[in-house]
Symmetry: C2
Subunit: 403 residues, 2 copies
Amino acid sequence: MSASIRDIEGGLLAPKGWRVAAVCAHVKGSSGDKLDLGLLASETDCAAAGVFTQNKVAAAPVRWCRRHVPSSSIRAVIVNSGNANACTGEQGWRDAAEMASAAAALLGLEASQVLVASTGVIGVPLPMDRLRAGIKQLQLGAGGESFNDAIMTTDTRRKQASAAVTIGGHEVRVGGVAKGAGMIHPNMATMLCFITSDAAVDASVLPEAVKRAADRSFNMLTVDGDTSTNDTLLVLCNGAAGNPVVKAGTPEADLLEHAIETVALSLARQMAADGEGASKSLDVVVSGAASEADARAAARAVASSNLVKCAVYGNDPNWGRVMMALGNAGIELDEGRISLSINGQPMASGGVTTGFDPAAVSKAMNTEVVTIEVDLGLGSARATALGCDMTREYVTINADYTT
Amino acid sequence: MSASIRDIEGGLLAPKGWRVAAVCAHVKGSSGDKLDLGLLASETDCAAAGVFTQNKVAAAPVRWCRRHVPSSSIRAVIVNSGNANACTGEQGWRDAAEMASAAAALLGLEASQVLVASTGVIGVPLPMDRLRAGIKQLQLGAGGESFNDAIMTTDTRRKQASAAVTIGGHEVRVGGVAKGAGMIHPNMATMLCFITSDAAVDASVLPEAVKRAADRSFNMLTVDGDTSTNDTLLVLCNGAAGNPVVKAGTPEADLLEHAIETVALSLARQMAADGEGASKSLDVVVSGAASEADARAAARAVASSNLVKCAVYGNDPNWGRVMMALGNAGIELDEGRISLSINGQPMASGGVTTGFDPAAVSKAMNTEVVTIEVDLGLGSARATALGCDMTREYVTINADYTT
């Protein structure tokens, strides 16, 4: 099926019928001109679904989105960076609702048609005076990269992807942007991701399709083991492609899901590469597992171990740490059946060292993407987790974020 | 009851009837003279119990100890640092057994009376030639600090504690040493801890008493979220105090357990302060929880969050990260009831900011021990987790451990 997915340019604006705006609203009160308020809008109503943080402390905008999706009448998303509007109590809820109302007023919509997302410092009320003023200045028609810039916090680069498929003779496009570099862990993190499409799709198709796409992409990504209060993945399909409406349980629904997953996976890889302080990406490929759930748990345990991540940073062929992490994955293991390699260099077989040359393996680890392959020797299930190394710079970035 | 616990000097050798030996066996093959092989021996048989790693990948010496305790006839413990004898397959098991046999031969005992512990690099077979030679050189009668030195790896200082109680008119002493600075997480980590006592105690008292003491001390300690393959806590009571034998379910059993817990908690605090790269200790005190299990989960979630630990390092009054960590603790929360303070500075009440002065709180955080107090507002249960900050030095230490 992947053969039918085509790479295209354009990111968020690749699908038809989408426009964006972005301004500097000085959310953090600083004197610079960093864009920090973005608006994404469709010309027509959208089928929409989302996946949100599993943190018990959910930010107000997350609660707003949970209330309004799934839906078949979403038109826009308003997003600010610099302040997460989390741990802000009743005021936070009113502020999220007011962001939706103000954007809706600008566009001539109902507030319930506008979703809201925020990212940034937790526990500080939103500067609503500045946000109100900012929303009034938003003018649709800006370039996609300005929206991308407006949602970034500690990200060092933009993350966008887009893909096309053919459904009923019509080209259907999917595009997306994401932000997130820290507080990133399986089951989502301070990541915001907005995926647009011009697919015509029955709204009932999306919730499960989006959840599965997230499970195979963002939920296999880990940067620091901390899950944020604000994680939001929204998928919005406006029907502008003119394809026959995609119904649940059809091959076309599978194809659309696969296109969404392709965009999501590309964005997740870009987030791994831009992990806070990361100098390398880390792919952990676990095969030979008794079940896919076990494979996923094992891969994520290795990718999220601080000690493994430090070893990857230092080109340290310390395969024992991989074994230690596997042992903490909460799955059944037979240590004597485990084989593992790093960047293709066999290091352990049958649970014991292959007698590899440490200097040679260390040299082979000096790559932009380090791939740890583990065969559990128990079955045929496999999974890949995405992560990055842990560096001194990670600590530096996170030691003085608010002050 | 704590009033009856008396601080005493002497560490591991404070109780009667214990001796140690230590040599440099060049376990890592290096040319230095670091002590890396230690022997702890009682003059008479001991009641013994242990708590061991929950990692599914357990080192050979852990498997040896699990086979031989609980027991009422343990006489000695042989320990090496520099090599964990983990992920070493069948050969690893034979090597652990040979370490026990060789030490038993030296002391005129059965191998089953000698416990074994190892710590250091994982996945490398033990250098048995050097260990055999080293064991032959061991001579009991050395100072306690030499045994302490022999078990250290990345530790920067010795950790020892001792306490006394009166049981049946006799002074009963408990002493201990511990090593461990990284790979430390709730449910134990690369920590070795040996607690000696001269209590006369029925062997049936110890297993549960040791487990409870561990739950309230080492299992509330976290350094880096990684649980090692080699964690071992052994408690050995040789009866030399001459007290009436302590039986299960008596006040004397509670008193002995409390003395063991006191020593264990002191050692856990010393380990937190010496966490790899740590510049500060972190105490997280959670009160107002619905249950002790919830309090423990919440305290540990905060103490083990990388982002909280980085904020503590940088004197960053980022209380939102504490909320984020609480939300990931896997317990039920009511965000609107949570209050929290750092070093006595109130930062949040009813789930929202108190409007504190960030500069003042940042200044107040510049202490050797940072205490985060959280009141969940749901009940009366409480718990304390012990940890440390995360520093650039942590990454440096762990980026090139083996090479």
